[in-house]
């Protein structure tokens, strides 16, 4: 065993290996969206007393999302005549990019991080909002009234959730005394599984994050029954798959990973005894997937709110709560607890 450990340590000291790891984090993202998409199909189906996809790929339809992807590639690429072609075409890149960039600062393990920026959390929250600009662009460029309504809802939603999201993260930064993601994780060592002084921040963050990834009960910008996928009404084929699905799942994974890092102790194991370097990414994955699962569970249980109700909720409940939370964390900071 010690030999193996030593070998690992030497390996991890090699910069090329590190680079490989860093690249693989990004390369893993696209397949990861397929996996998460598949899991969501299955969770949805079982919640609804069904089995979900069972045929593609043989075993329990594991290749369903892959097949969907291939289907999307084969489809005709339609751009409406009245659309602003350049903007229309740029949207999928933009929506996907924002969320994907956030992965740069997420520590899967202390070494398993692409770049441990000093302003990590600030950066992550900033880039994850880029996708919204993509949605706005899609809504305007499509030359469709439904898309326009969807885009405006998205803009309204951005303003509503961004503040509580940032304020909740600010409380964590106060606790850690650093914006670096690794520092934030390390600061949670006394709590390991759940950073309980941040309990309220966690709830606020999760609510705001659900609104950011536009999932029910906050999926008003794409509500099918009302405005027919909103900004993406006119998108089809590959553009639709990337602009809406892939972007949604990347953002979904990114925010769950972010929440894991900020509140669930990131790569730290649930009890100190299990703290063993090679297992750390596993803990991270486990925690992230459990957050993903809970969000899926919520998504398939609730109806959706109305845009003005979200605004009211954000401004009248979430913002005051997160401000109060900052005071609370500040007070805790004066005690020896954190």
């Amino acid at each position: 065993m010690p030999d193996l450990l030593q070998l690992l340590e030497t390996l991890l000291a090699n910069p090329w290996v590190i680079l490989g790891i860093k690249l693989s984090v990004l390369l893993i993202l696209l397949p990861a969206t397929l996996v998460v998409g598949y899991v969501e199909l299955k969770v949805m189906a079982h919640i609804q007393h069904r089995l979900g996809p069972m045929y593609p790929g043989g075993f329990h339809g594991w290749a369903q999302t892959l097949a969907d992807g291939i289907k999307f590639i084969q489809k005709e690429d339609i751009i409406p005549r009245a659309a602003d072609r350049m903007v229309f075409a740029a949207v999928p890149f933009l929506t996907m990019m924002g969320a994907a960039l956030a992965f740069v600062v997420i520590p899967v393990g202390p070494q398993w991080i692409i770049e441990d920026l000093e302003v990590g959390i600030f950066y992550a929250l900033a880039v994850s909002s880029i996708g919204v600009i993509g949605v706005l662009m899609a809504g305007w460029a499509s030359a469709n009234k439904y898309s326009l309504v969807g885009a405006l809802r998205m803009a309204g939603q951005l303003i509503a959730y961004e503040l509580p999201l940032v304020l909740a993260a600010a409380a964590v930064v106060m606790q850690a005394g650093s914006m670096s993601m690794v520092d934030i994780v390390e600061s949670q060592r006394p709590f390991w599984l759940f950073n309980w002084p941040q309990g309220l921040s966690f709830v606020i963050f999760m609510v705001a994050a659900t609104a950011e990834v536009v999932r029910p009960p906050f999926d008003m910008p794409i509500a099918e029954a009302e405005i027919i996928t909103g900004a993406f009404t006119e998108y089809s084929g590959m553009r639709f798959a990337f602009g809406l699905f892939a972007a949604e799942y990347i953002a979904f994974i990114a925010l769950s990973a972010l929440a894991t890092t900020l509140f669930l102790g990131g790569y730290l194991p649930p009890i100190p005894a299990l703290d063993w370097e090679p297992l750390r990414p596993l803990w991270f994955l486990l925690k992230t997937s459990s957050i993903l699962f809970v969000l899926m569970w919520v998504r398939w249980t609730y109806p959706r709110l109305r845009e003005d109700q979200l605004q009211r909720f954000a401004w009248k409940v979430l913002v005051p709560l997160s401000l109060a939370n900052i005071f609370f964390v500040g007070a805790l900071k004066l005690t020896p607890i954190i």
Binding site: M44, I47, Q48, H49, R50, K145, Y146, V149, L152, R153, P216, P217, D219, M220, A223, E224, A225, E226, I227, I228, W300, T301, Y302, P303, R304, L305, R306, E307, D308, Q309
Partner: protein, 382 residues
Amino acid sequence: MAKIPDELTKARVTGAGTLRTEEMILNVGPQHPATHGVLRVIVTLDGERIVEGEPVIGYMHRGHEKLLEQRDFRQITNLLSRMDWLSGINNEIPASIAVEKLMELEVPPRAQYLRVILAEINRILNHLMFTGSFGLELGASTPVMYAFRERELLQEAMEMVTGGRMHFGFIRPGGLKEDVPKGFAERVLKGIRQLIKYIPDYENLLLGNEIFKQRTVDVGILDPELALEYGVSGPILRGSGVPYDVRRTDPYLIYDEFDFDIPVGAKGDAFDRFWVLIQEMRESARIIEQALEGLPPGSHLGQVPKRLTLPEGEIYSRAENPLGELGYYLISNGDAKPYRMKIRTPSFSNVSVAPHLLKGIYVPDMIAILGSMFFVVGDIDR
């Protein structure tokens, strides 16, 4: 949440001299996920606020009334089940009653009981469909699957009896096409039992859910007087607090022999309408239970001449359909075919009141209101 005062809407529309704003006209439908069918609503929007909403119908007009003039009474039965395709048996019953009354045919008691059982199963099937689809329109995609699970059991019972799943064509003047097969009662009871077991789930997933309440309470309040003036009936009228139910006010078949309640709402908002819908399933289950218990042995068909030729005369025959009052005004000139058959469908009158509800609300509320109007486009357009 509540309606926006008119002055405020006007001030916004004219821009109050600062910024020029324009109203946007949005076509919701005829192909739209929330209009289940091909209904089109032209809404004038100020931002997301609806200044005016006008339903446009006729995309599914099949000319039933003209077609009925070309068909004899056996063929008519099969056409009528296609109006409101969620309540086939209920559509057929008043037509048969009209023929029976004009011809003075006697319907054996067993047929009466079976008609009640089938009609109430059909009512449950219809209500389950709307339970699910209302959730779907508000973004909850799970209740519809649960509703279909319960639907399937009763649907199987219906298929076992009639051979059809939607268009039953089973009611004949004078009785029924055939008697029920062995094991029918057990099947129905199994379905009812499961339904009663799972209704609390729907209530907790939808009615009891805070988000659902946010979306439906005080949304689309329908004034009872206005509703009556528009001829609104069924769960929508009862949601407004008017206990009008043809099964009670003008009993047909043998409904006066059963013990059941008429659930009525208090305020007439979307929440009340939906609550009435769910409670009605329970009442139907009670009726089915009593009818199965009292089901007498005997014949399923009375003495009916081989060829149905109606005497001259006219009659308005009505019934409480799952969606409201369905009536046929049948005029006969002594032929095997009706001279004229006016169809008064519940959805037609129910939807005609919509412009009053679609004023000064938000687009999502429109979906909630249309969803709680429980209409079938085939029933509006005929």
